[in-house]
């Protein structure tokens, strides 16, 4: 696995996606943060897909 893929995998998904989902959860009672939640949801979805693709490649193809 290349160094770039490792960094993108670990820092981009392992930390960023949970943090963004956590931010969505704790700002859920506040309607004024709706746009922020939409942005975080879009980025989290993309990060989750990236995590799955790189993780699948890493486990099964090394």
């Amino acid at each position: 696995m290349s160094a770039f893929k490792s960094m993108a995998f670990f820092y981009g998904a392992l930390a960023a996606v949970p943090i963004m989902l956590w931010m969505i959860a704790i700002t859920s009672p506040y309607p004024q943060f709706h746009l922020l939640r939409v942005a975080f949801a879009a980025l989290s979805g993309a990060g989750a897909i990236l995590f799955g693709l790189i993780g699948f490649n890493e486990v099964f193809h090394g």
Binding site: L14, P18, A25, P29, A41, A46, I49, F51, G55
Partner: protein, 137 residues
């Protein structure tokens, strides 16, 4: 070059191979393997729910499943951060001689870094409660 699918611990396909001597690693590995399959459709559905409002009610349950599966990864990431930042004094299986020298010669301690994974888990659990009570995008 094809990835080798076995090592001294046994075959990679044997998901129970870590259970006997590394239960924490076993939980981490099982959750990780489930997550790499689950996260792709979850990510697609999460993005789709931003465009199709009839998917929105399902994002809470799907996120709760993702939340549970990524918990061991988050814990291990925080633990790795503590390990690296403390130069092995937090969560490192170091020899007593090295620990003694590290503390006496370099005045290093792992005290500040040891709580980090547990603080991360407390905040993560609080977020999970918030998800169950209030989740909406």
């Amino acid at each position: 070059m094809e990835k080798k699918t076995y090592d001294m611990r046994g075959k990679q396909a044997n998901i129970a191979r870590l259970w006997r001597f590394d239960k924490e690693g076993f939980v981490h590995m099982v959750a990780y393997r489930a997550l790499i399959f689950y996260s792709i459709p979850y990510g697609i559905l999460l993005i789709a729910s931003l465009f199709y409002s009839n998917l929105a009610p399902y994002t809470g349950l799907l996120t709760a499943i993702f939340w549970i599966l990524i918990t061991p990864q988050l814990y291990e990431t925080a633990k790795a951060f503590s390990l690296i930042s403390s130069k092995g004094l937090a969560f490192g299986h170091l020899s007593e001689g090295y620990v003694y020298l590290s503390k006496s010669k370099y005045s290093r301690t792992g005290t500040l870094y040891k709580p980090i994974p547990y603080i991360a888990m407390i905040l993560w659990l609080a977020g999970f409660v918030a998800l169950l009570l209030w989740w909406r995008i």
